[in-house]
Symmetry: C2
Subunit: 238 residues, 2 copies
C-alpha cells in the first residue's frame, strides 16, 4: 500500500487520522462487497437467512457512512487542510455516499430474493451471476484504486461498464420474451428485472467512485466525460 500521499504530514496525529479514515472507507467498502455477494447467493440459492443478513448489514453500512462523514468534517474544521488533503477529505465524503447507495442496491436484491423465494421464474441465474461478478469486480477494483490512491486502473474499470450495460440489455431482452410467452409470470419477472437493474446501477456507482478518485488524485473533475475523454485526461496511452 502506497502511503506516500497520506503519511507525509509533520503532525503524526494528522497522519493517523487520515489513515484511520482510509481504513474505515475500506471496511465500509468490504462490507458492501460482502452484501452484494450474499444478496446474489440468497437470490440464486433461496437462502433467506442470507437475505435477512444483507438487510441487517445495511444499518452497519449507514452507521459507517455517518461516522466517516462526521470525522471528515471534523478534521476539515480542526486541521484546515488545503490542496490534496482537503480534496481527499471531500472526496471521501462523496465516495462513501456512493458506497452507501451500492449497499442500498444490495439490500434491494436481497428483498427481491425474499419476494421471489420458491418461485420458478427467477432465472436466468447464470447470466445474473456473470453480471454480478462484473460489477463486484468493478467495485472492488475502484476501492482498491482508492486504497492505493492511484488512478492508473481507472479507465480499465470504467470501460467495463459497457459490458455491464450489454449484459443488462441481454438479460432484459430474455425477460421480456419470457413475459410475452407467459404473461401470468409478469409480476415475478418484474422482480427479476429490478434485481438486474440494481446490479446495473452498482456498475454506475463504481464508475462514480472512479471519477471522484481522479478528482482527488489529479484535482481534475472528470465527471460527465466519455470513456475516451476520460482516458485522455487520466493519461492512458493505448
Amino acid at each position: 500500500m502506497d502511503n506516500s500521499k497520506i503519511g507525509h504530514h509533520i503532525s503524526e496525529q494528522f497522519n493517523r487520522e487520515l489513515e484511520d479514515i482510509r481504513n474505515k472507507v475500506l471496511t465500509m467498502g468490504g462490507l458492501v462487497e460482502q452484501q452484494i455477494e450474499l444478496a446474489i447467493e440468497a437470490y440464486t440459492t433461496g437462502n433467506m437467512e442470507m437475505a435477512e443478513l444483507v438487510i441487517k448489514q445495511d444499518n452497519q453500512v449507514d452507521t459507517l457512512e455517518m461516522e466517516i462523514d462526521m470525522e471528515c468534517t471534523q478534521i476539515i474544521a480542526l486541521r484546515q487542510p488545503t490542496a490534496f488533503d482537503l480534496r481527499l477529505l471531500i472526496t471521501v465524503i462523496k465516495i462513501i455516499h456512493e458506497i452507501e447507495r451500492v449497499g442500498d442496491k444490495a439490500e434491494r436484491i436481497a428483498e427481491m430474493a425474499i419476494q421471489l423465494s420458491g418461485s420458478e421464474s427467477k432465472l436466468p441465474h447464470h447470466e445474473l451471476e456473470h453480471m454480478a461478478d462484473l460489477v463486484k469486480d468493478m467495485l472492488h477494483d475502484a476501492l482498491d484504486a482508492f486504497a492505493r490512491m492511484s488512478v492508473e486502473e481507472v479507465p480499465a474499470i470504467t470501460a467495463l461498464d459497457e459490458n455491464v450495460d450489454r449484459e443488462y440489455d441481454n438479460i432484459l431482452r430474455q425477460l421480456i420474451t419470457r413475459m410475452m410467452e407467459d404473461p401470468r409470470n409478469i409480476t415475478r419477472t418484474l422482480d427479476v428485472i429490478w434485481t438486474v437493474r440494481a446490479l446495473e446501477r452498482i456498475g454506475d456507482h463504481a464508475c462514480y467512485i472512479c471519477e471522484h478518485l481522479v478528482y482527488m488524485v489529479k484535482g481534475e473533475d472528470v465527471r460527465h466525460l466519455s470513456q475516451s475523454e476520460l482516458e485522455k485526461k487520466v493519461g492512458v496511452v493505448k
Copy 2:
C-alpha cells in the same frame, strides 16, 4: 429571504461568496425543476423538441454542479470556515449532487418520451401527471427550505414521499394488468414503468436534500431515520 445566517460575516467578500453559491444552487434547482416539467409535457404531448431540450439542458446542469462544487472547495481552502459555514459548504456539495441526479431522472423521462412517441400505450397520463406534480412540489419545497435555511417544513415534505410511493404502486399495478392483457405491448409498457420509476426516485432525492438541509442547519445527521424519528429530531409537534 432570510439572509441572517449567510450575511453575518465581517468579511463582505465572504458574505458575497456564500450568497453567490446559494444563488447558483437555486439556479441549478430551477433548471432541474424546469427539466421535470418539460420532460413530463414532452411525454404527455409527444412534443419531441421539448424532450430534446431536456436532454440538452442536462449539460448545463452538469456544468453548474461542477462549478459550484469547485467554488465550495476553493472557499473551504481559502477561508477555512468552521461550524455553520463549513457545514453549509459541505452540504451544498451534497445537495447539488442530489439535484444533478434529479436532472438525470428528468433526462431519462425525456428519453422515454422520445422512445414512446406515437405509441398508444403510454397512458395513464392523468396518474402520471399527478405523480409528477407531487414530486415537483417536494423538490420545489426542499429547494425553498434550502433558500430560507429553514428546516421547519422538512417533515411535511418528506411525509409526501409516502403518497408518491402509493401513487407509484397504483400505477405499477395498472401497468402490470395492461401487460397481462396485451403481452404484445410489454416492451412499451416497460418504458412507461421506467418513467414512473424515475419520478419515484425524484421524490427520494427531494427527501435526501431535506436530510442534508437538517444537517446543515442543526448539525444533526438525520439520514436513515423513520418519518416519526425525523419529526422528533426536527422538533415538530403534531
